[in-house]
C-alpha cells in the first residue's frame, strides 16, 4: 500500500461507525500511523466530514411530514398498530384465496379445453397492438441469447434496468420473486421500450415489462399458448407484464 492508495481508502472511513472494524480500513489506518503527512491529511478530512455530516443531518423535514405519511397509507395499515412483518401489506391479487380459487377453476377449465381441443394457437382476445406485442415477446423469448447484465439477485436486475431508464417490474408475484435471477435486457420493439428479466426455476422464465399505455386493466392474468410456448399477461399500476416460458399455461399459473 502507498500513500495514494491509503488516501483512497480512508476517504470512506468514518471512525464512529462499524466501518472502522473492517480490515481494509485497519490496514490503511496502520499505514497512516507511520506517515505524518497522511495522518495530518486524515485529520483534516475527518474534521470536514464531521462538520458536513452534522450540517446535512440538521435538515429538518416539514413538520407535518410524519403525520402525512401515516395518514396517506392504505387504510388497513393506517388504522391499526400492525406488526411490520405480519399484516402490514395490502393483499395483492395473487395472494387472495378467492382469487386462487377462481384462478384454479379457470385453469382447470382452460387446461381441459387445451387437452380436448389441442389448438395450435390460442387467439388473444385483446387489443390488436397488445396481441402483436405478446406474440413478438413470445418469439423474442425463444431466441434470447445476449443480456445486458447478469446477476442472480433479482433486485439487482430490477435496479439495473431502472438505471438504464428501462421499464423494470415494480411488483413481482412472490413465487417469481423467489426464483434465482439470470440476467436482464433492455430493448425497443416497434416503439415499445421493454425490460426483460430472465429467471431460473425448474426451467427458464422470461418476464417482459413495458409501459401500459392504453391497454385496459388485466387484473387477472390472460394465458396464451403458442405451439410449445405459453405466455401470461397482466397489468399492475401503469405497467404491462408478459411472462413467457416453454410449456403450457399451467406452468405459468403455478408461479402467479
Amino acid at each position: 500500500m502507498n500513500t495514494e492508495e491509503a488516501k483512497a481508502i480512508l476517504q470512506s472511513y468514518r471512525p464512529h461507525l462499524d466501518d472502522a472494524k473492517d480490515p481494509i480500513f485497519k490496514e490503511a489506518l496502520l499505514f497512516a500511523e507511520n506517515d505524518a503527512e497522511l495522518r495530518s491529511w486524515l485529520d483534516r478530512e475527518q474534521s470536514f466530514d464531521q462538520i458536513f455530516a452534522q450540517k446535512l443531518q440538521g435538515i429538518e423535514p416539514p413538520a407535518d411530514l410524519e403525520e402525512k405519511i401515516l395518514s396517506n397509507l392504505p387504510s388497513s395499515t393506517a388504522n391499526t398498530e400492525t406488526e411490520v412483518f405480519t399484516n402490514i401489506n395490502k393483499v395483492i391479487w395473487w395472494r387472495q384465496p378467492l382469487t386462487w380459487s377462481v384462478a384454479a377453476c379457470f385453469i382447470a377449465l382452460f387446461t381441459l379445453g387445451v387437452v380436448l381441443l389441442r389448438p395450435r394457437e390460442i387467439a388473444i382476445h385483446a387489443q390488436p397492438g397488445m396481441e402483436a406485442l405478446v406474440q413478438a415477446v413470445n418469439e423474442h423469448s425463444r431466441t434470447v441469447s445476449k443480456l445486458d447484465y447478469q446477476n442472480n439477485d433479482v433486485v439487482a436486475l430490477q435496479d439495473f434496468l431502472m438505471t438504464q431508464n428501462s421499464p423494470a417490474p415494480q411488483y413481482l408475484p412472490t413465487k417469481l420473486q423467489n426464483l434465482k435471477g439470470i440476467g436482464c435486457l433492455s430493448f425497443t420493439w416497434q416503439g415499445h421500450q421493454l425490460g426483460l428479466i430472465c429467471f431460473q426455476g425448474d426451467k427458464i422464465y422470461h418476464l417482459y415489462v413495458t409501459d401500459r399505455k392504453a391497454i385496459p386493466d388485466l387484473n387477472t392474468p390472460q394465458y396464451h399458448q403458442f405451439n410449445d410456448r405459453s405466455t401470461a399477461t397482466w397489468t399492475s399500476d401503469d405497467q404491462l407484464y408478459i411472462l413467457s416460458t416453454e410449456g403450457e399455461p399451467k406452468d405459468l399459473a403455478s408461479l402467479l
Binding site: 392504505p74 398498530e81 439487482a156 435496479d159 431502472m162 415494480q170
Partner: protein
C-alpha cells in the same frame, strides 16, 4: 426515541416511520433538490413499504430496503420526467481541493444540501448516504448495487466535486 435495532425487531409501522422518515427525507432532499419532491419521495417509500414490505424476509434489511426503495422511486420519477441521465465522467480527480475554514464556518444545513445538489448524481447518491451515517459503506454498496470499490471511488470523486462547489460559492 427508537433505535434502529428496536425497529428491526418488533416495531409497528408508526415506529418505523418515526425512526426513518427524517434520514429518508434528507436523502430524498439531496436527490430531488427541493423539499416538496423530497417529501413526496419519502411518503411514497413508506407507502410502498406498507403495500409490499412484508415480502422482505430479513428484518435486518429494513433500513437498506427503505433507502433503496426511495432511490428507485427517484429514478422512476426521473425516467417519467425525461430528465437527463447522470454519466460517469472518464476523468478521475487526482487532487482534492482544500476547503478553507471560512467556507466551513459559513456552512449550514441548507447550504450543505444546496452544495450537494450540484454534485453529479452518480457521486451525490453515495456521498449523501455516507454523510447521513445511516448505512455502512457495504450497505451503501448493496443499496446501490455496485461493488464496494466503486463506492469508494465515487465517494472520492464526490468529495472532490463537493469541495469545488463549496469553494466556488
Amino acid at each position: 426515541m427508537n433505535t434502529p435495532k428496536d425497529t428491526e425487531n418488533t416495531l409497528d409501522f408508526s415506529n418505523l416511520v418515526n425512526t426513518y422518515y427524517k434520514p429518508l427525507f434528507r436523502f430524498a432532499y439531496s436527490l430531488a433538490g427541493n423539499q416538496h419532491d423530497a417529501a413526496d419521495l419519502t411518503q411514497q417509500s413508506f407507502y410502498i413499504w406498507a403495500t409490499k414490505g412484508s415480502s422482505l424476509r430479513d428484518p435486518s434489511k429494513v433500513k437498506s430496503w427503505l433507502f433503496t426503495t426511495l432511490y428507485r422511486e427517484f429514478l422512476r420519477d426521473r425516467r417519467r420526467g425525461n430528465r437527463m441521465d447522470s454519466v460517469e465522467p472518464e476523468k478521475m480527480e487526482s487532487e482534492m481541493p482544500a476547503v478553507t475554514q471560512d467556507v466551513v464556518n459559513s456552512l449550514d444545513a441548507m447550504s450543505a444540501v444546496n452544495a450537494l445538489v450540484h454534485v453529479d448524481e452518480i457521486y451525490r447518491v453515495p456521498l449523501t448516504l455516507f454523510y447521513l451515517d445511516d448505512l455502512s459503506y457495504k450497505e451503501i454498496a448493496e443499496a446501490l448495487d455496485v461493488p464496494i470499490g466503486t463506492i469508494m471511488s465515487r465517494l472520492s470523486r464526490g468529495k472532490s466535486q463537493l469541495r469545488k462547489v463549496l469553494l466556488e460559492k
